[in-house]
Symmetry: C2
């Protein structure tokens, strides 16, 4: 029999996406109505979904391979913040109708390459999806599935007064990378610019860190909206308030260089999103356990503040504390927010 | 604290979507990074995803409530064709950026009402999602999750030579309904037009039928691409060929009336998609078991043909056999295909 017409949904699936499903027999080569996945004994299912649209969530010219990697990693970061082990994902792709067949094919090929490299790296498999052609920009929705022991997921609501606040890796690189990709940060050295752009394009989901924090952390969230906002989510859900000590916030050399060149970027660094690091709280006595997780995973974990009982009307609020011990008002003090 | 800004993602989720997640504690009110679902003992997970775009998969003016119902039902139909029991779903919504806040809110409210009514009817719960604002039309992606006994899912590839082909319900109503919604079929009685439009807007996923066919049917698929194409998928996957006897294909009174007024619609009826009935094959001796499933569920199951070993080059082909026993060539004989 002849194959499906080039550029058709069946053709794209057969050539670019079915190979990504080879590792899971229950994906049926993406040729059946649904996939069937074995559940590891005694595990609960963890589910998360994210949509990204060209020109909204990533720049129009971003290479398709990087878009695939970023879409997968952003979803994996949500699994990481729950402490889950990734297993499988589905992806839906909406192509601009005006895209020529060859362009569509090239884009799908690049996107699939990005997914392929990362699913090997993070240990999960494509098990389903959909491909449509529609007006508007490229639009992508990914649903990631993972497993966790019942009742053990890290939640936003588990923080307790007196907990220490930790963050993994470094903060602010992604938002600075986006600014660099847009042509900003002109005074930065090329290697620093490249590092920051890479951190935006290819965030590292902290899966092993999240996994090992199960039973250690009281609460966790990934930094997608920005360090202050996401820690605020923990505080709101837990009915608490928090203080972050600015000089303790871990920064990369590239971010330090950007801040040295333009100190007004501090607001950007603390409130910009897309780092996909983990912010979590632990009881004060858990310092050694946290240090052990950092040593085992090779991902630095840094204490940046504490969680406390809120005063009247302060629930969910995050105070930003400067080097002199006084509160900074990021909005009032002229820090920039992209 | 003040609530989230009206029309923002957080506002839409809190007011319209979080109430749909109340039935599942592990959805955490849609306020955490991911949902955690308990797995019934000894079950495998079934996953399927579909995307629908306004103006492409449904008419632009279709009420949001009907869009919600249709999106959910189309995905449930994929679970039905595997024999799975639905459990949960995630939904991602992309709104046109140009939509005013009040219009967005009204659309989201209607869409959520459509989902709410159907998730009660079909026994599943919203557990996650995403809401974005982007150029282009309304675009929706739903991922449905269900459970099945390991190794028992109905597959496309299980048909055997000699099997009978059955179809549930009636065929062709949805494509005629779409045509009526577009202003066609002008000679049809209003009640027939209304019935057909309803069949397009609100297809009935044959969940109970699919469930009871586990262990009875060799192969199954839902009619999304059209009766002939979808039976062709079973034949391709199973390495067989099939013949469908046209006078045996079950039709509604409304479809019969449409065909009486315009016999050239036969091609439309047999090849139009979107019926979301089940086509399945069973061993010839299973007639009583099939009749029992029909009796238990109240959904008619009609034998429409047989599956056989293919001649050279005929694998995957579906012959369409007329009242006189001769093959019809739908393309050559002037039947219309929308």
């Amino acid at each position: 029999m002849a194959g499906p017409p080039p550029g058709s949904e069946f053709d794209l699936i057969a050539r670019h996406f079915a190979p990504l499903a080879r590792g899971e027999a229950g994906a049926f080569g993406l040729m059946d109505d649904a996939a069937v996945l074995a559940v590891p004994e005694g595990r609960a299912l963890v589910v998360t979904t994210d949509t990204m649209v060209a020109g909204v969530h990533f720049l129009d010219g971003m290479p398709a391979e990087a878009v695939g990697a970023r879409l997968l990693r952003v979803n994996l970061s949500d699994l990481a913040s729950m402490g889950a082990v990734p297993a499988a994902y589905t992806v839906s792709l909406s192509f601009p109708r005006i895209l020529a067949t060859e362009e569509r094919d090239r884009w799908a090929a690049g996107f699939a390459r990005g997914l392929a490299a990362d699913q090997d790296l993070f240990g999960l498999t494509l098990v389903g999806g959909d491909t449509v052609s529609a007006p508007g920009p490229v639009s992508l929705t990914l649903t990631a599935l993972g497993w966790i022991e019942p009742g053990r997921a890290l939640r936003r609501s588990g923080a307790r007064a007196g907990d220490r606040v930790y963050v993994s890796g470094t903060i602010g690189d992604a938002v600075l990378g986006l600014e660099a990709e847009r042509g900003g940060l002109g005074r930065l050295a090329p290697e620093h610019r490249a590092e920051l752009v890479e951190r935006f394009r290819r965030p590292t989901p902290r899966l092993q860190t999240g996994r090992r924090l199960v039973g250690v952390a009281h609460a966790a969230v990934d930094v997608s909206d920005g360090l202050i906002a996401d820690l605020g989510h923990i505080c709101s859900a837990s009915g608490l308030t928090a203080g972050v000590v600015v000089p303790e916030v871990p920064l990369s050399d590239a971010a330090r260089a950007a801040l040295a060149a333009d100190p007004a970027l501090l607001g950007t660094v603390l409130t910009g999103g897309d780092d996909y690091e983990l912010v979590f709280t632990t009881p004060p006595a858990a310092g050694d356990a946290v240090a052990a997780v950092a040593a085992e995973t090779g991902v630095p974990l840094t204490a940046i503040g504490t969680v406390t009982e809120p005063a009247q009307g302060e629930r969910g609020r995050v105070r930003v504390i400067g080097a002199d011990g006084r509160d900074l008002d990021l909005a009032a003090e002229g820090y920039r927010h992209f």
